[in-house]
Symmetry: C2
Subunit: 243 residues, 2 copies
């Protein structure tokens, strides 16, 4: 049988928000590899596993660690927050995996922040939507700008990941300025901090207010489409049923 | 205490692909409301529950049924396939809920087909992406066309829901023709049928081949961005790590 590595999306953090399948796969693993913060979120039941990690920006080394462990005959799971295939390490694993034809890769999907954050805010993504990361670590900022403009032109609802960090404290402001070139300032928006963890905080606001909102790397931002509305404190994007 | 209705995303169908939280909420419910096909997918452990349903196109009646049951003092869950907040009934519930201030609505997120289908195909959504439904039941076709064009212009990876139905057998062809106006015919694409159910089938192909693919209402379609590639049969969209 081929050696296997499971690439597991653990959702926002709380074990209850993982799928049954993700929990089963982790329980059957000998080794769980992940970024230290996510390993710490795993509950008691996984504490007999071997945990391996690498620091931030050593994602390639983290992936290679998985292949090395799998080749020792161990069952390996690589955990990512949210969904491993949405800004996670699934694609890097497939790229590196070309050198390891004897290893099979299996992605176990998880709840991404677009879903979990939307659930806290109401139903902001209940029609066609885009997901855009403002992190320019791996993407030129010009490409991010182009995508924001296209999303506004298509009247998509938008979920924004990585709206800010220490070095990029004004990126959400820059993104809102691009959107405000074609979207009215009163557009219904919202954001959620620490989804599925202690200190969850959800705020609804207008696009103009969002521009000056205090967000951080644990915030997911939602921008409504032209039909979105704030209803009793919830951000709701209609699908269009006649009621 | 306020009456509560849980709006539950059940994921693609298999119980293992539900979150622990979704299962717990259904187990605590007196009544489970849903489209008959989805109620049938629920396993043995829910068979002591009261099941209520309405046929397709009676979504409003299905939602009102939830409020009526909640007002009788029952704990109600409304189930939707995938994520209830992505083309599901969450937004309609919030709209109708304005008439029922005594009822609290709680959305429990689920694995949407963009996530679960991507996991089967490889990692097609591992960078910024759009989700677009080709169903024009509730959306004018012109708006769908506009969104396809904007998605291509922004070089987004794209997940397409509802690519076909009996009445709309040529919609994927129409969508591909719009995309082919600005995307090369060799663009890496793929599609998955019956995600998380019996008969799962995944195919990778080019955009030109996709145009003539045989898809149905249980297919989710994926279109890569300019950097996507088919690697050993998997559709992979790079995030951009240097390897």
């Amino acid at each position: 049988m081929k050696a296997r590595i499971y690439i597991v999306g653990m959702g926002p953090g709380r074990e209850e928000m993982m799928t049954v399948e993700a929990i089963q796969v982790l329980e059957q693993s000998d080794v769980i590899v992940g970024y230290p913060v996510y390993l710490k979120l795993l509950g008691e039941r996984f504490q007999d596993k071997e945990f391996l990690s690498t620091p931030m920006k050593q994602e390639k080394e983290r992936c290679l660690m998985c292949f090395a462990e799998a080749l020792k005959g161990k069952q390996v799971s690589l955990i990512c927050s949210g969904d491993a295939g949405i800004y996670g390490l699934a694609s890097l694993m497939y790229e590196l995996g070309r050198e390891y034809p004897e290893v099979e890769l299996i992605v176990i999907p998880g709840i991404t922040a677009a879903s979990s954050g939307a659930a806290v805010l109401g139903a902001p993504l209940n029609h066609d939507f885009c997901v855009i990361s403002l992190s320019d670590l791996l993407t030129p900022w010009e490409k991010i700008e182009k995508r924001l403009t296209a999303a506004a032109e298509g009247d998509f609802a938008i979920a924004i990941y990585n709206p800010s960090s220490h070095k990029r404290h004004d990126y959400l402001q820059k993104a809102c300025d691009i959107l405000l070139a074609s979207i009215e300032g009163e557009r219904a928006c919202g954001y959620v901090e620490n989804i599925g963890r202690d200190g969850t905080r959800a705020v609804t606001c207008t696009l103009r207010e969002l521009r000056d909102a205090n967000v951080n790397m644990f915030t997911t931002v939602f921008i409504g489409n032209s039909g979105s509305e704030i209803m009793d404190g919830k951000l709701v994007t209609r699908r269009g049923y006649s009621i």
